[in-house]
């Protein structure tokens, strides 16, 4: 019984990657035109925007908050980036867009922390405000430019050799400094995964510049949150605010910072998307879909709505899982309604299982499981 519980627990903890592997295997065998370099590259590229959004979104969830304005922020900042490009160029327009995202995040954080408004309500309000500003700025239309060179570079280009050397050097340095134990799975993974990635990057065209940029942003997020003392404070603040207060952690600062980072990642995601397509639409369905898919991906990735638990890498696997699903449905030529149904089904199963686990956890709260185990083994 304990073994089966362990198996279930293991599957639950790694459900995002397991679902991803399952769907990928299924699609590779049965879906026509799925398993080729171009299609796999399409999946990676199409997941970039949501992947970057999920970095900040996961952080907000870890803080036991929610930010419903991420889709609108991504859309607005993307539109700002492409709208300002003709006058200011890409660099400056990107900086302004990211600053705008940071400001939106700061606004959200202050409203939640200082005015004590629940983040769900506060960010719905922000979302509506941004939607209005977006329509005012774009006049309901689309902002676009005729220059597609950056978009082409992001999708099919190649970084200069010095950049490649720096990135590979950073990866090797990270692996060496983390001193992996080759007798453990984690240790082997720490060596094998980067090695495979470097080989694939150098020998195939699987990883376009936009995918590499996404990996870099995700890596920075993972490093900050999981490998720094400051980053671990997010888990403490979200998981047990009282303990955080007792430990002298400034809870308000962490929450505001979480929203700011979320705003920054959303604005980056929208801007990079707008750069890739040299345009951004004012249709709000774009923001809605970005929000809903990111939400589903983060939850499937194992991040809890109650806070204190989450993993940026697993959120990324959740994003990839949805991209594989969308792609697979396209390969089969199935209708969009099938996609929505499967989307909803996966999310429902995961959410119900989460609810059941929380219910079991509440039942056992205050009890001492090690004594229970001992008592059961005696019986």
């Amino acid at each position: 019984m304990h073994k089966s519980k362990n198996i279930i627990s293991l599957i639950d903890q790694n459900r995002a990657i397991l679902l991803l592997i399952l769907l990928t295997c299924f699609s590779a065998i049965f879906a026509p035109n799925f398993a080729n370099r171009m299609n796999l590259s399409t999946i990676l590229i199409s997941g970039c925007m949501l992947a970057i959004i999920s970095v900040g979104f996961t952080l907000v969830f870890i803080l036991a908050q929610i930010d419903l304005s991420i889709g609108a922020t991504a859309q607005f900042c993307g539109m700002l980036c492409v709208g300002l490009q003709p006058e200011l160029g890409w660099t400056l327009s990107l900086i302004i867009a990211v600053l705008a995202g940071a400001l939106i995040g700061l606004f959200n954080g202050i409203v939640v922390v200082k005015f004590k408004i629940h983040s769900f309500i506060a960010t719905i309000g922000t979302m509506t405000i941004i939607r209005g500003i977006l329509h005012l700025y774009s006049d309901g239309g689309t902002k676009s430019i005729d220059n597609y060179s950056l978009g082409e570079f992001l999708e099919t280009g190649q970084f200069p050799i010095w950049f490649i050397i720096i990135v590979i050097g950073a990866i090797i340095l990270f692996v060496v400094l983390s001193r992996p134990d080759v007798k453990t799975i984690k240790g082997i993974t720490t060596i094998v995964v980067p090695a495979v990635f470097i080989i694939l990057w150098l020998t195939t065209k699987l990883f376009s510049p936009i995918v590499i940029i996404t990996f870099i942003i995700i890596s920075i997020g993972i490093f900050l949150v999981d490998h720094t003392r400051f980053g671990k404070g997010f888990y403490v603040v979200g998981g047990n605010p009282e303990t955080a207060w007792l430990a002298g952690i400034n809870k308000d600062m962490y929450i505001i910072l979480g929203f700011v980072i979320c705003g920054i990642t959303a604005s980056l995601a929208g801007s990079i998307f707008a750069m890739r397509l040299s345009s951004m639409t004012a249709r709000f369905i774009f923001a809605q879909k970005a929000l809903m898919t990111s939400l589903a991906a983060v939850i499937i990735g194992g991040t809890q709505l109650t806070g204190g638990k989450g993993n940026i890498l697993k959120s990324y696997f959740g994003v990839l899982m949805f991209q594989v699903l969308f792609n697979m449905i396209g390969c089969f030529g199935l209708g969009f309604e099938i996609q929505i149904f499967i989307n909803g089904l996966i999310l429902a199963v995961v959410v119900f299982y989460e609810a059941y686990t929380n219910y079991r956890h509440e039942l056992l709260k205050g009890q001492r499981p090690e004594l229970l185990k001992e008592a059961q083994s005696i019986r």
């Binding site: 309901g140 397509l277 969009f336």
Partner: protein
């Protein structure tokens, strides 16, 4: 120990299935290539007959669900000279919208793939449709009927009104290596880089329904669809006649980003400025074609403008008409003249029962059929205009029965 084994098995299975998938694809491609090589040798003599067979297929006799022919003769348009700087003109000046209204007519095409001129029978076509809507269900019906007539293999990808999703589907469509792509863009402006991508892959594009912006038009072989601008200029004149060429009016707009968003707003505005200068535009706004939002919008206008509001122009006659009818009934303002873009069942019922004076005729099935038929003409090596419109007509109470039952 268990965890180690489990992880290793999972990773191995992923790698194996990926290689299996890639390997089988390569084998399939090799087999197909060999077969097609053989076929091309033996079919050289039959090539002409395939083209002849394709030309002999008669699709003009196919009737749509509304009793009208599926393929109707496409209508040409007189294109005036382009103003020097259209954007410098006022929005009420027709010249301001020249680039959008006459998009495609004078565009210099770029890198268009040459027609193989080997007939349409057995070709593979990918349809990138904009989203789900009853209109699009009828569109696909018409599209499929033509596909069946020519034995064309069709794959349909639904963009669900999402630019992000459609951009992914463009990559998928290219990956399918079709003989042509029929592209109904979600966003008329943002589709330019997407169409460029397909064009660079050497795949001919027939743009459909929404008119792409000028920057996108140069990549497509042709565009087919409703002449929104022309239709709404006709409708505006009819509307003005119904209103006695005086009074205030308001416009319920289409969804932002689509070509009808501008066409179904500024075509009547610019037309009425000349045709009925005593008519006054009171308000215009979008309700995203939603019934509830339209009802709220129209009710607000009735409250605000009172008797000054004498007419309404709707960018759609489906949910927009439902919302408008509700608002007019609640306010007791059945005197307001209503015209709309048609032609759904709701719109035609509204014309029949007198709520609506007139709607434009736009065959959804014909829209789908003409798009694929244009691809057929391309495969047959025929010369064609860069733009092909569906016929224009205003349906009124006098002839609404001729268009029943509604396609959607």
């Amino acid at each position: 120990m268990f965890k180690k084994c489990f992880s290793v098995i999972l990773v191995m299975s992923l790698l194996v299935t990926l290689f299996v998938g890639c390997g089988s694809k390569e084998k399939e491609e090799k087999v197909e290539k060999t077969d097609s090589d053989k076929a091309s040798v033996s079919d050289n003599t039959n090539e002409k007959s395939n083209l002849d067979k394709s030309k002999e297929i008669d699709v003009f006799s196919i009737i749509g669900s509304d009793g009208q022919p599926l393929i109707l003769p496409t209508e040409k348009k007189e294109v005036p000279d382009r103003p020097e700087d259209p954007k410098a003109l006022a929005e009420e000046d027709a010249g301001h919208w020249w680039d959008i209204e006459y998009a495609g007519w004078t565009t210099k095409k770029e890198n268009l793939p040459k027609s193989p001129a080997d007939g349409a029978i057995g070709k593979k076509v990918v349809l990138l449709k904009a989203g789900d809507h009853p209109y699009w269900t009828a569109y696909v019906n018409g599209f499929t009927q033509i596909a069946e007539a020519y034995d064309i293999e069709v794959k349909i990808l639904n963009g669900n009104w999402n630019m992000d999703l459609q951009s992914q589907q463009v990559d998928q469509a290219i990956n399918e290596k079709p003989d042509a792509v029929i592209f109904a863009p979600v966003d008329a402006t943002a589709c330019a880089p997407l169409m460029r991508k397909i064009n660079q892959a050497g795949i001919p594009i027939i743009a459909s329904n929404t008119i792409p912006a000028e920057a996108a038009m140069k990549y497509c072989t042709a565009w087919t669809g409703p002449d929104d601008w022309g239709q709404f200029r006709m409708l505006a004149k009819y509307f003005a006649d119904e209103m006695g060429k005086e009074g205030g009016y308001a416009i319920v707009r289409h969804m932002p980003g689509s070509s009808p968003y501008f066409a179904r707003t500024f075509a009547p505005i610019t037309e009425l400025v000349d045709y009925a200068p005593d008519m006054k535009l009171l308000a215009m706004d979008t309700a995203n074609l939603e019934a509830e939002a339209t009802m709220q919008l129209v009710s607000d206008w009735i409250t605000k403008y009172g008797d000054e509001l004498k007419g309404l122009i709707l960018a759609g006659d489906g949910f927009s008409m439902t919302g408008t009818e509700e608002a007019l009934k609640n306010a007791g303002r059945e005197d307001i003249v209503v015209v709309a873009a048609g032609n759904s069942k709701t719109g035609m019922d509204a014309v029949k029962n007198g709520v609506c004076s007139g709607i434009t005729y736009q065959s959804a099935e014909g829209d789908g059929a003409i798009a694929l038929f244009t691809a057929v003409r391309y495969f047959n090596g025929e010369e064609m205009d860069p733009v092909a419109y569906l016929p224009r007509h205003i349906i009124t109470a006098d002839d609404v029965d001729n268009y029943m039952p509604a396609q959607w």
